[in-house]
Symmetry: C2
Subunit: 193 residues, 2 copies
Amino acid sequence: MQPKEILLMLTDQWADWEAAYATASLNAFFGYSVKTIAADKEPKVSMGGLQANIDYTISEYSNLANVAMLILPGGANWQEAAHNEIASFVKKVLGFQIPVAAICGATIFLGRHGLLDNVKHTGDELELFQEHDDYRGQVNYLQAQVVLDGGIITANETAAVEFAHAIFGVLKVDSAEELDGWREHFKSGAVRV
Amino acid sequence: MQPKEILLMLTDQWADWEAAYATASLNAFFGYSVKTIAADKEPKVSMGGLQANIDYTISEYSNLANVAMLILPGGANWQEAAHNEIASFVKKVLGFQIPVAAICGATIFLGRHGLLDNVKHTGDELELFQEHDDYRGQVNYLQAQVVLDGGIITANETAAVEFAHAIFGVLKVDSAEELDGWREHFKSGAVRV
């Protein structure tokens, strides 16, 4: 049986660190196969200048049966273009009851396309980021580090570890206790001996 | 004047998150140009399954005049091979008084090649990681998150934020106060309003 795929949606200027804890563990330790997907096959250059190759284009990825989750890292390009094709793909993924995880600029992208309309947040972070039009301003106003609701995980730019923790929880890759230990290890740098 | 380059040394199974905070800020905000370098031109696949293209091979990179720093992220491959060509390149870089920053498995690689012999550590982490032969064991025994000595920055796997903070400090990209604020923001997820 082929491993379930995690799709990592890349745009130019994707933020190197935001999905990195999640993808490394999912691909290397938890039995998933992480694949990059984008609107086209051109390598996508990260904020850090890294040219990442694209495994799939959206248009060629028609069968979602083997997808465990779609992850959208943030980056400097979500505000620069509408990314309508990506929005359509996210809708399709959600329609199949496949969870979607978005961080930083990607959450604002989802909000702009109405994809967070059914998400009931516990805090006021969504209203706040809809009120502020400046990208850096928006993420700074996010109050919660990670919100999980209705099959969608949203997180702010400082929450790369928490974001991974929430993703692991949704995918049930380990017990809650083990996952909390993982989070503590990477957040505090606690030494395991 | 062309921007100073930061060289990111990639091997297969490089750890996605470890240098990511550093490279993103250096390339996007601090006026450096981050370039990938490797023993050969084959794309290097991260632990997270990301295929990163290589800008330079070691053998073609002869003029170090424009290099500000060499960064070696950790990963699952440092223990698998000697990487002699990379060790020779690190020696050359250090000979030019260019700082080198290594994290996780890459610090063990440096130690094996005698490249940490002149580093006076404040703690006992170096002795400890030389005593333990298992990769995961070693990084767990590192006591300090980041050590900076003799032009070499070393850090453990949980210290991606601290590692970036130390790199920014060596490159003097901002005041100590601003850099401490940056570290606090990304470590604690403190909300800036």
